[in-house]
Amino acid sequence: MPIQRRDLLAALGTGATAGLAGCSGVLGGGDGGDGPEVDGETLTLTTTTSTYDTGLLDALNEPFQEHYGVTVDAVSQGTGAALESAENGNADLVMVHARSLEDEFMREGYGVNRRDLMFNDFVVVGPSDDPAGIEGMDSATEAFNAIAESESAFVSRGDNSGTHTKELVVWEAAGTEPGGSWYQEIGSGMGDALNTADEQGAYTLSDRGTYISMQSNLSLTILVQGPIEDGPELLANPYGVIAVNPAVHDHVNYDLAMAYIGYITGPEGQQVIEDYRMNDKQLFFPRALSEDPDFQQYVPEGWSADDDS
């Protein structure tokens, strides 16, 4: 789902407005005695390595835990594994970034009440001597093709994560089937992929957040920007949050999952996302608050009531 620049600006604007709104957030209210009786309960959230490793989740969870007196157990897996855990009933909600996989999850009935949460973008990073000569390209597919043609080393996550899914989408759009000794699937998280690429002077596709959070340890540089820095829309990276369907898994803590979704998609949670900085850079951009309703966020992409699906 391409993020239109207008949307992007709108989201930025929303964030700024929410910032001005200050401390009158949902969680700011005092502790009236008639709060929900969830004290001591545990919410299990499976999520991606990018939200976890950047530290964003800790920043998001702390106010929620304090307010409700609950514990949020965040398990960081790839998007594919996070959804799989939820399908097996091992999580109460998921926070992931691969719309095609999220849609499948919803179509199969495992997830309900999907919300757009936030976004950032992907960047193509590589060694600064740039053997494939992709620096400054404004097309991700051209850059990928240049890497393939020059057979420059490329590290692929290879773990069915959101980033891996995006990488495959880019290869497909480029019309290139990656393979050969220059293409290495490491089957591991984003941090591992960046470290491996760094060691080997290879290219890789990274979400901007994880790259920024690890930048000080890496000699890799951004060679192709994502849409946040006016790069191609193809590299947009939207995150969604979905509750596990209590009709499929009746033991899930659905109430608390919805309270959590309400919190992170509300002004307070969105403000935490807006304010979260690492190395003085904003990693994620809030996206849940908008005056213009986007009904597509609740349903599989492209779904309409006229469909039979």
């Binding site: 490793d53 702390e62 514990t71 157990d73 965040a74 398990v75 009933g89 091992n90 470290n195 690890m214």
Partner: protein, 242 residues
């Protein structure tokens, strides 16, 4: 074992510019020890009697059983983790007990991992006890229990080695605890199912090599300390038999 954790926790200020939240590190040490010590304790309670029974009886399939136990020593931890995950998953046979991503599930998988080495090495130790000692114990009018206790006493170094091998396997494995435990730490930096090994993996993945190295050093120190304690107990606790 609490004493060990406390000692290491108190060791925190040794790192002059301790750049990490010490609560994060101590809670990880606690989870590691909690899970591995309980798993190894249960394993020992199961393994040592099993090894003695197998070692001093003859039955069809004994050779086969021994082979199975020895094969189990090399069981890949990720496979054990995967099987335990399937068992405790909400769709699995133990799903109703809500064990997935808990310390209990981690103890289960480490129990499975630690039992074969403890049984195998104990078996080797007890069968190595001189026949004359056994016969003497019988001749002196000992009951079966007396004989078993004598054997345990005689084989205590071997059994201690077995327990240490099991402990070493449990505390240093990363595959199964990561799968069944989920490597969870709370937002306040307190570990819930994060062990030293899974934390090292996470910190290295996130590029925080200094913290990863510190945790690695703690893990090695921990194994050394536990080894020293167990060997010491073996030396003083056994009386003058050797």
């Amino acid at each position: 074992m609490g004493a060990v954790a406390a000692a290491l926790g108190a060791g925190g200020p040794l790192f002059v510019d301790f750049p990490f939240e010490s609560q994060y590190v101590t809670s990880i040490i606690y989870v590691s020890l909690y899970v591995s010590v309980i798993a190894v304790a249960i394993s020992t309670l199961v393994s040592v009697p099993t090894a003695i029974v197998v070692g001093f009886s003859d039955f069809r399939g004994k050779h086969f059983l021994t082979t199975v136990i020895n094969t189990g020593m090399g069981f890949p931890s990720v496979v054990v983790g995967l099987v335990v995950l399937v068992m405790v998953s909400h769709e699995g046979p133990l799903g109703e007990f809500d064990l997935v991503f808990t310390k209990k599930a981690m103890i289960m998988s480490q129990f499975v991992l630690a039992t074969p080495p403890i049984t195998g090495i104990t078996l080797a130790a007890v069968t190595g006890v001189n026949e004359e000692v056994r016969d003497a114990a019988f001749a002196l009018g000992g009951t079966r229990t007396d004989v078993a206790l004598t054997i345990v006493k005689e084989a205590r170094y071997g059994i201690a080695t077995a327990v240490l091998a099991g402990f070493g396997r449990a505390i240093s494995e990363v595959g199964s605890v990561l799968i069944v435990g989920g490597n969870i730490a709370g937002a306040n930096g307190v570990s819930r199912t994060r062990t030293l090994t899974t934390a090292i993996r996470l910190e290295a993945r996130s590029g925080r090599y200094d913290l990863a190295l510190l945790l690695g050093a703690i893990l090695v120190a921990l194994v050394l300390v536990v080894n020293a304690i167990v060997i010491r107990l073996g030396d003083t606790g056994g009386g003058g038999l050797r």
